[in-house]
Symmetry: C2
Subunit: 392 residues, 2 copies
């Protein structure tokens, strides 16, 4: 079993065992058959265990402090992971915690590192994360971005030698809460072949942007066509074929055969365009920060080596361009124009980026967060090993 | 015939009549059958008329001055259009000129306007293009971005009430030639439905980034899966079906039927992700600049109203983060790592963004620029009307 097989197998196991964790719009098969209400309903039927965000945050906090993560860091990691669950982005929520615990216990992450400023030069700052906890480093970097954005109108902070930071959205939202347009990107473990290639060179390299004001629009997307979980789901449900554009076989040829896809590679979004966007992120994060690039990265699912990810935080102080309330008014107009489009066949309405997640969040704040069987079992197992009391 | 039909018909006519003008990687059918060399060869066989960039630039310059465009502006427009032809991006080259001439003669563009700074606040600048020539405004905005980037480390310039600026790459390259990472976006005439919708709300809203140093990587991509030209090409060659993911029918349902696609809509790149990226561009360009948004825009192919496009120019002064030569070295390493991937089935090698265009450019600088029949006829026709001598 080579390194890649082991990655796929590990991800496969985890994704299959906690499949409830995909994003709302990752359910293409559901989309065509059911409307929005049905999909929300679907989420509520996922797991037998439904707990409030407070209880889950506390549980995560206790798991992290049990492995000696300092309190302030444990609190931030717990809160940011549960924030992803609240939004329905379970793939970036608590199901990550067992991985984090595993690699922290292996010594892959330095839980005591706070990182250091390598250089601050005008509105540009380079940060060495010193293999610290990704969320902790991201908080520090966001705060530098906000500070420098306030001073100059916009700012760019890049971190290197960092670790998994959960969902990019959380950090972009931290900046937008301060009146900034927050843009966040990172590079990630190489799982994706470049366009025209058949060897893994890029991560899912997400692109994320959040805007100030009330919850109107929030983009957080990987630069692959779909997540690996969607292909695993096809296998799980016994579907022999997947749509064009999702994956390539091991020779790098586009395939619609589920099995060939599983032994192959994820397709960059739209082929050469996704490949270009992944490289854009790689440049802004890793080339600029002096960090690890492409195949030099480890990952949260690759054991025995630090992840060495780089992250980018760009803040634009909106008020330097137009008054914040005017910006928000214009955002409302734009969202209104876009949503005024008649719905396409098979849909009830046009939704903009972020909207499905805010709807899930409203419901989960009210009704609690359903945790899938697989994710719950992994958390309970970790709690058992660490002597941490399980809620519920 | 409603406004949209007229747009489609106009574009259809022009694209069909000058179809040689698509980009190298827009030739998927060619890709599977021929290698790179064959594709370059294909370009050289396109048109009967092959002229040097100098001759074509001079021809374009004389056409523009014949309709009273001031010399400095005519020179810039001519040079930037031919630069696109040199790179093989003929869709954004001289074939645009007859459209420009037409709308300038109609008074849609104010050829004498230079625009004005609305506000300069730290590293952020808002520019009112006052319906001036898009290229002229973009040059001014790039220079402000470079100036402010130098002063602060990075900068953001947004223009409103502007016009078509040709290929975004030209302006990103202007910034990267000054040692900046240049990012350029714009909004454009609404031709694309938002995800889940069936009414036109977004333009092709390109995302472009250029980096300093020798020609290594350059991304300039629309946020749709393919250009309209690819679907017209399928019709042109009598192909009844197109691949999944290219288009939707008039009801917004994904279609692989060529005819349904032609009466339907272009698909945002990867569905909801392309829709999200288009809106990201719309926000950074139009919401921030206070300009026209979405359906408020005209276009170079929509007559009788100004285009009112907004453009964004973001400059990052690389030397604020790491020495320029180190940046270039790291870019070379990254490109090397990516290109070291074995080629996928049907390809000779991995190419990164910009590479196909630089290869075409080297050849066209040597052998001249082949102009397709359709584009040439339109130019000759315009020259005839304006009493301008035709070269060749």
């Amino acid at each position: 079993m080579d390194a890649r097989d082991s990655v796929i197998q590990l991800i496969g196991y985890r994704v299959l065992s906690s499949f409830g964790g995909a994003r709302p719009h990752d359910h293409a098969p559901l989309r065509s058959r059911f409307g929005w209400a049905a999909r929300v309903e679907y989420y509520n039927r996922l797991g037998p265990m439904t707990l409030s965000s407070e209880v889950l945050t506390d549980f995560a906090f206790r798991l992290l402090t049990a492995i000696q993560v300092p309190q302030a860091k444990a609190e931030l990691v717990a809160k940011s992971l549960v924030a992803a669950n609240l939004r329905g982005v379970d793939s970036h929520g608590l199901q990550l915690l067992p991985f984090y615990i595993e690699i922290i216990l292996m010594g892959n992450i330095d839980i005591h590192a706070d990182g250091r400023i390598v250089s601050e030069n005008g509105a540009a700052l380079v940060y060495d994360a010193q293999n610290g906890i990704g969320q902790w480093i991201s908080k520090i970097c966001c705060d530098h971005a906000i500070r420098l954005g306030r001073a100059h109108g916009l700012s760019l902070v890049v971190s290197r030698e960092s670790n998994h930071f959960g969902a990019a959205a959380y950090w972009a939202q931290r900046m937008s809460a301060a009146g900034m347009i927050g843009m966040v990107m990172c590079n990630a473990s190489p799982l994706v072949a470049p366009w025209q290639g058949k060897d893994q060179r890029f991560g899912t390299n997400p692109i994320c942007m959040s805007v100030p004001g009330s919850d109107l629009w929030l983009l957080d997307m990987a630069t692959t066509t779909v997540a690996l979980g969607k292909i695993l789901n096809a296998q799980f449900h016994g579907r022999a074929t997947i749509p064009e554009g999702w994956a390539m076989d091991s020779e790098g040829a586009p395939t619609t055969d589920t099995q060939s896809a599983l032994s192959g590679l994820l397709m960059p979004l739209g082929g050469y365009k996704g490949s270009g966007l992944a490289m854009l992120a790689e440049i802004l994060c890793a080339v600029l920060s002096g960090g690890a690039m492409s195949t030099e990265l480890g990952g949260i699912r690759i054991q025995g080596q630090p992840m060495r990810t780089s992250q980018m935080f760009l803040a634009i102080d909106v008020a330097r361009l137009l008054p914040l309330d005017e910006f928000e008014q214009r955002m409302k107009s734009l969202v209104g124009i876009v949503k005024s489009s008649r719905a396409a066949q098979g849909f009830d309405e046009v939704l903009v980026a972020g909207e499905p997640e805010w709807r899930v969040e409203a419901q989960r704040r009210r009704d609690g967060i359903p945790v899938s069987d697989g994710a719950w079992q992994n958390l309970v197992q970790a709690a058992g090993k660490l002597g941490v009391a399980v809620p519920g």
